[in-house]
């Protein structure tokens, strides 16, 4: 179902062609990072800390080096020491000393799974044996696992050099940053409120859960050049980070994008890539490293667990008047949680005159977090969207009507200040209101229906594209954006639309870092938006050149050539026969040579995304198990280029959000050791856990974008946890304040409520 407000008559855009990389992916032929092999290739393995917090007193590698078949053993002593300060590396701000120490621990192990040493050997089994021969002497330190513990005065400090601006240069701390967002006067605002709800929420650390573990093959040549084959969301970010960590000039590193088996933000940094090059440099052989699932869970970047206090006030006619929030997010072992984004999204769907938001980035003995789909926003929405639901109930207003009364729209100031341009939040709420799902009746015991909304900024950033016109009139589209979910098809469709070409005559190619201009990560919901923009401009550039060639052929001026429906024709008059791209292409040589359209963007005017999700649940009163009966998500998608893959993003994001809601969490023991290091215990939804996923695409085009595209990948993960919590409340009368709402946690809350007989009892562990 699509409600288009674009009004364009597109030929290709909006259709559902088969993706160009599809056949390779259903026949097993597509090459993912772990599928690459090279003659003489060695296999690498990484030794990891079994302790959450420890000083590394010594590392003895002699016995490991002496094992037959072992070719190299490296530790942090083999990496250059880097400045302990924030620097721009590619598109991100990063502390290179922290990045390097996360790749191989320097002096201290800061989480269970922290890399200590790496080995290259003639087989992965020999490399594993060698790991057991490495002797590490640790001095154990007390683990600091929660933001509360880390923020306590006198808490053990993870990073002796860490300082924050407020506490000054002399005070050791685990609080890396404090941010504050303020508008109006919250004290006055709450005075005007008839109802005030204040709740404290906790959300668990969760992993992106991509099915493909991290991998890298590094090949260092005698001429000082390095080539890396890996599954990454951003080849250029791998290049710049490897350059920084290894001290090799960027121009001497080439990163070749393998197919990527999911990322969701987790493959926007480096772990194995620098090690593969370092080990290759020492051994002179290609070196392949592939993580196990346990390594992925223990030592790559999940997203933050968090503690969030959210207080909101409304007048009795349902107008929100004040919001005060306090957010503390686990950064993991090094600073850099998405708490800023959490703070900047938590109440942004609503027009609230008085807000005060404090946000804290806190280091704990857990893996360094990485981006995860609308980073920080899902945690925040769990808090605010539950409080909004409770306020709507107190006001006696339907939760969708309550949202409509307060919804941000064009001109509403965002939490960060600037006013929104045209956005489609209201449209998503209206779409849910009008959906068959909302209009259906939910009956039966232990059942409830919940709704929640979500907001995400989306990003723009840099992309490059070239469009090559081939002599048979087919077209190749080259970009640097790796394809995680069908973006190749979208890029080809955009070029086909502009050039009037058949979609099967356009071949989309994802190039390596030497073969295309700089392109930032496939992430931030930017690929269709920004790379799509570059492809649109590059195709227009090719079209302009094609018109010049037609004009030359007809001895006319380029502006006298019109192009529509795949046909070049004279603007006025006749005497010449209209021609197609396929007729023109063979004659390019005689009219000036090959045609290459090119364009780059540093995209501005990013359109933010909104989604509203409706969920029906049934709660087993004896076990606390929640069954998702029905789910519908409505999202402002700007303009759906390939609607099937847009629906796919909405469905996949919703499924992940349901995983956060019901099952997924990092479970550490009292020593700070991760206890659920496999996919049996880190429980992601299976197809038995989920119903059909209904999607409603609302199309409110992004102003300024030539096709109105709005990023779609991230926002659908934001509403589900709160929507499920609100549905559980309707089913059981219990307000769940902690994620995941797993059977034991929900059962405990229901038993507490039954014991108290109090319908307002809140669930808290």
């Amino acid at each position: 179902m699509a409600a288009s407000t674009n009004g364009h008559d597109y030929k290709v855009i909006g259709t559902r062609p088969i993706r160009h990389d599809g056949v390779d992916k259903v026949t097993g032929r597509a090459k993912y990072g772990a599928d690459y092999s090279f003659p003489g290739m060695l296999f690498g393995k990484v030794l990891r800390s079994p302790h959450a917090h420890a000083l590394i007193k010594s590392i003895k590698v002699d016995k490991a080096r002496a094992l037959p078949g072992v070719k190299a053993v490296v530790t942090s002593a083999d990496l250059p020491e880097l400045a302990d300060k924030m620097e721009a590396a590619g598109e991100q701000a990063i502390n290179l000393a922290h990045l390097s120490a996360n790749i191989l621990a320097r002096g201290k192990a800061l989480y269970d799974g922290h890399a200590i040493a790496a080995v290259a050997a003639t087989s992965s089994h020999i490399a594993e044996e060698a790991l057991r021969l490495i002797e590490v002497e640790y001095e154990l330190l007390p683990p600091v696992m929660s933001v509360e513990d880390a923020m306590k005065p006198g808490a053990p400090v993870l990073l002796p050099t860490l300082r924050n601006k407020e506490d000054g240069p002399d005070k050791e701390t685990n609080v890396a940053a404090h941010m504050q967002f303020k508008r109006g006067d919250v004290a006055e605002g709450f005075k005007a409120a008839d109802f005030v709800v204040e709740r404290e929420f906790k959300t668990a650390m969760v992993h992106q859960g991509y099915i493909e573990p991290h991998n890298a093959v590094g090949i260092y040549s005698a001429d000082g050049h390095a080539t890396i084959y890996c599954s990454t969301q951003g080849t250029f970010v791998v290049r710049s980070l490897c350059s920084a960590v290894l001290g090799i000039a960027e121009g001497k590193i080439k990163v070749v994008p393998a197919e990527i088996g999911g990322g969701f933000g987790g493959k926007t940094t480096v772990y194995l890539e620098p090690l593969s090059v370092l080990l290759s440099k020492i051994t002179g052989h290609p070196v392949k490293l592939v993580m196990t699932r346990g390594e992925v869970l223990r030592a790559t970047g999940p997203t933050s667990g968090s503690t969030i206090r959210c207080k909101m006030g409304a007048t009795k006619d349902g107008k929100l008047v004040a919001a005060q929030c306090w957010l503390a997010y686990e950064a993991g072992a090094y600073p850099g949680s998405p708490v800023g984004a959490g703070a900047m999204t938590i109440v942004t769907p609503y027009n609230i005159p008085n807000i005060l938001i404090d946000a804290y980035d806190v280091v704990v003995n857990r893996p360094k977090t990485a981006a995860y789909r609308a980073p920080g926003a899902t945690n925040a929405a769990m808090a605010s969207e539950t409080v909004v639901d409770e306020l709507a109930e107190k006001c006696g207003i339907d939760p969708l009507e309550f949202r409509l009364k307060n919804a941000s729209a064009e001109g509403t100031p965002q939490t960060v200040g600037p006013p929104f341009k045209r956005i489609g939040f209201v449209e998503t709420v209206e779409a849910i209101k009008n959906s068959p799902h909302y209009k259906s009746k939910l009956t039966g015991p232990n059942r409830g229906r919940g709704v929640a909304s979500g907001f995400w900024f989306n990003v723009g950033l840099q992309s490059s594209a070239t469009v090559n016109i081939h002599t048979d009139g087919t077209v190749s589209v080259v970009t640097g954006s790796v394809d995680i979910g069908g973006t190749r098809a979208a890029q080809a469709m955009i070029a086909a639309e502009v050039l009037g070409a058949d979609i099967n005559d356009v071949r989309p190619i994802v190039a390596d870092t030497d073969s295309i201009g700089h392109t930032d990560v496939t992430g931030g919901s930017r690929t269709a938006f920004a790379t799509g923009w570059a492809v649109y401009d590059a195709a227009q550039d090719a079209l302009r050149q094609l018109k010049e060639r037609v004009a030359k052929t007809w001895e006319k001026k380029p502006e006298e050539v019109a192009f529509a429906n795949g046909l070049f024709s004279p603007v006025s008059g006749n005497g010449v026969k209209p021609m197609t791209l396929k007729q023109l292409a063979p004659r390019l040589a005689r009219t000036g040579g090959p045609i290459v359209g090119r364009a780059t963007v540093n995209a501005r005017g990013v359109g933010p995304a909104f989604a509203t999700t409706l969920v029906d649940v049934e709660v087993d009163p004896d076990t606390g198990k929640v069954k998702i009966l029905r789910v519908t998500v409505a999202q402002d998608v700007g303009k759906a280029i390939h609607p099937a893959y847009v629906e796919g993003q909405m469905q996949g994001g919703t499924a992940q959000g349901i995983g956060w809601a019901l099952n997924e969490e990092y479970f550490y023991d009292e020593k700070g050791v991760l206890r659920n290091t496999g996919l049996l215990d880190y429980r992601m939804p299976t197809c038995l856990d989920l119903p059909e996923m209904e999607t409603i695409m609302v199309e409110v085009p992004t102003p300024g974008h030539p096709l109105g595209i709005r990023g779609v990948g991230e926002v659908p993960i934001v509403p589900p946890p709160a929507a499920v919590a609100n549905a559980i409340y309707r089913a059981t009368g219990v307000r769940m304040l902690e994620l995941p709402m797993s059977p034991p946690r929900l059962m405990k809350a229901m038993l507490k409520k039954r014991a108290a007989g109090d319908s307002q009892a809140a669930a808290a562990d």
Binding site: R19, Q208, Y210, G652, L679, T686, E692
Partner: protein, 188 residues
Amino acid sequence: MVKKVIVEATINGDPVELLCEPRQSLLEVLRDELELTGSKEGCLTGDCGACTVIVDSRPVCSCLMLGVEAAGKNITTVEGLATGATLHVLQQKFLEHASLQCGICTPGFLMSAKSLLDHNPTPTEADIRYALAGNLCRCTGYDKIVKAVIDAAKHVADGVGTTHHGKVPRKSASEATRDMLGKGEEVK
């Protein structure tokens, strides 16, 4: 080091003789010794199903089976699913329904789905979800995967598509599903 063992098996219809270490999993043998990298490694603990292959008509996580146990078995991997240049109806339906995003789980899903349709050409949606519950997909939310299998089953039932490797006698849906999931003999 333990000596390598000669293993003879039928893989994708062809007799294969290979050398493998007793500690190597079937997945490792397929990927590293035979260069059949279509079967993917997602967990090595049998939880994700990305390495699913069909062993003597049953779906098996190839990471949980040793290479040496393949001796004398008839094994089909995703590389053996299409007939020449003609895609299997499941492959075609996965493409038409946009059932893959990143595609890493796709080979495993295809093999589990093929095994289902081989045993039960007329599955209900519940049968399909049950049969695919051992395969994890993190991208799609499963909706488009389930719809593709429903569509493929319809084509098989209509005689439009074939499930390759011969016909299987019809059974009731639940009977066949139970059968496929190995209530009988242990699959090793």
